[in-house]
């Protein structure tokens, strides 16, 4: 019985690690963004429209994915909000005249290409996605 419990526990741990590995998210930015690192609270502020600036990186423009595993992982790990709650934050700003909605892309490749060519753009992709032409920010 003990052996069976150990096997089940090991399988559960391995499965959890495998799921996390698949959904591991990289924060990427245009090479012109000054910051090399960003805190979780700054990420949340930028991607909910609370701020348009990184403390050490100047003005940034968040870019979103429209769905997928990387998008869900990003919301869970860094934003701590559902998609609906995050959209509500942005829509409040857009409908009160304070901001436009952030750009969003259906594919990670399109998002990477946009960030590479757009000054100040910051976004996220899965670690398995090619991200040439952009810089990766460390989350501290």
């Amino acid at each position: 019985m003990k052996k069976l419990s150990l096997i089940c526990l090991s399988l559960a741990v391995a499965l959890t690690l495998a799921i996390r590995a698949q959904a591991q998210v990289l924060i990427i930015a245009n090479p012109g963004v000054k910051a090399d690192a960003v805190s979780k609270s700054e990420l949340r502020d930028v991607f909910t429209g609370e701020t348009k600036n990184l403390k050490e990186g100047g003005r940034v423009m968040p870019v979103l994915l429209q769905g997928g595993a990387a998008h869900e992982a990003f919301l869970n790990e860094y934003i701590h909000m559902s998609e609906t709650m995050m959209q509500t934050c942005w829509r409040r700003l857009a409908f009160s005249g304070q901001s436009t909605m952030p750009k969003s892309f259906a594919s990670e490749a399109e998002l990477v290409a946009y960030i590479a060519r757009t000054s100040g753009a910051i976004g996220y992709v899965s670690s398995a996605t090619a991200h040439d032409g952009v810089k990766t920010l460390t989350v501290k």
Partner: protein, 382 residues
């Protein structure tokens, strides 16, 4: 179509055309929403609608067009339509129309018709999808009064100042502009029912500011606002002058993951001078403290529930026990997001007092002290 609507359209279309000609990436966005409500209440008719017999006479819609012209410059316009029983109109009005130039993190400028930041909800109160409630606290953000309070024609300076790693940030907004009373809302109806019938528009200047401290505790913010405004207009039988009135608001809000809590206290001090032709000027004074406390919880990704209590009193009235001089409302509310485009709300009110939201024209037999009300609403956003 009114001149202001035509002017706003011309501003936005002209800027968008210039952007297209420059060959830069366009960031033109069009968004909108629409809501339809059903209300059923007790014996009293509320908010200009025949709620006692059940009504669907509350519809709203808005559409905005915005263009991020460059990194620092954004232009946009929003049109808004409301029909609230006897109030509102059949044509949309310009909700806001502005150019927004961000110099840096701590200084930006908006000019045009700009929403006024006052308290927790003034600049977003006509954006129904932005919050759980079907009706915001009536004595502070009355749906029948808000058309006049939403925006001003002028300019706003805004920004965010970092106070240090352990002290949070301070957001500020300072504005000055001019406004006009809406021609068909609760404010004008209240003035008419008090015997003041205007010949032409009523309006004046409105300076104000808001300071909002984002504290080091994640999700907690606190602040204060002041909206000042004066007004003058011609009556059919004299003149109306309201010297600068002061409307203060103090608030705190905590939002973290699934929970939100907020509290706001407001105090209005307003005088008016009515001069009927051939008589001496008559001065009257109004002082109305009010407050609300609200809380809500995201039960799931799609379902929220919450409650609030609000109190509004006419402190300057001689008899504070007269139901005409107080308004207390217990509210339970819920919202369900069907998908990213549609949502539904259901809300119940237990109202005690008649000082806000009740009018003589649709309550000809007088008012009961108690009013119970249910509001159901469906909304669409894009």
């Amino acid at each position: 179509m009114s001149r202001s609507v035509i002017g706003a359209l011309a501003l936005v279309l002209g800027t968008m055309t210039a952007t297209a000609q420059s060959g830069s990436d366009q960031n033109l966005q069009i968004h909108g929403f629409a809501t339809q409500s059903v209300l059923k209440g007790g014996a009293n008719n509320y908010l200009g609608m025949n709620t006692s017999s059940g009504t669907t006479a509350w519809s709203e819609a808005a559409v905005n067009v915005q263009d991020q012209v460059s990194d620092k410059l954004r232009v946009g316009v929003q049109f808004h339509y409301i029909r609230l029983g006897a109030f509102g109109g059949d044509t949309p009005t310009v909700d806001w129309a502005l150019g927004d130039y961000t110099i840096n993190r701590w200084l930006g400028l908006r000019a045009g018709k700009v929403k006024m930041r006052w308290g927790l909800y003034n600049d977003t109160q006509d954006y129904d999808p932005g919050y759980m409630w079907s009706l915001l606290p009536e004595g502070i953000y009355g749906v029948d009064f808000r058309a006049t309070d939403l925006s001003q024609n002028g300019a706003e300076l805004y920004g965010s100042i970092q106070l240090g790693k352990k002290a949070g940030d301070l957001d500020y907004s300072v504005y000055f502009g001019y406004y006009f009373d809406a021609t068909n809302d609760g404010i004008m109806e209240s003035l008419n029912e008090s015997g003041l019938v205007f010949n032409g528009s009523v309006g004046g200047k409105t300076p104000g500011f808001d300071l909002r401290w984002k504290t080091p505790l994640r999700g907690l913010k606190a602040g204060g606002s002041l909206m000042a405004y004066d007004a003058k207009g011609n009556l059919t039988n004299g003149t109306y002058l309201q010297p600068l009135a002061y409307w203060q608001a103090y608030y705190a809000q905590y939002e973290h993951r699934k929970v939100f809590l907020s509290y706001q206290y407001t105090r209005l001090v307003q005088n008016q001078i009515v001069t009927i032709t051939g008589t001496a000027p008559a001065t009257s004074s109004l002082k109305t403290p009010s407050w609300f406390a609200m809380g809500g919880y995201h039960i799931s990704d799609k379902l929220q529930a919450g409650a609030y209590y609000t109190s509004f009193t006419v402190a300057s009235a001689a008899d504070k026990n007269d139901p005409a001089n107080y308004f207390h409302d217990w509210v339970a509310s819920s919202r369900y997001d069907i998908d990213s485009y549609f949502y539904a709300k259901l809300e119940g009110h237990l109202i005690h007092g008649n000082a806000a939201g009740f009018y003589g024209f649709n309550n000809p037999n007088g008012l009961n002290t108690e009013t119970n009300l249910i509001v159901a609403k469906i909304g669409f956003i894009f």
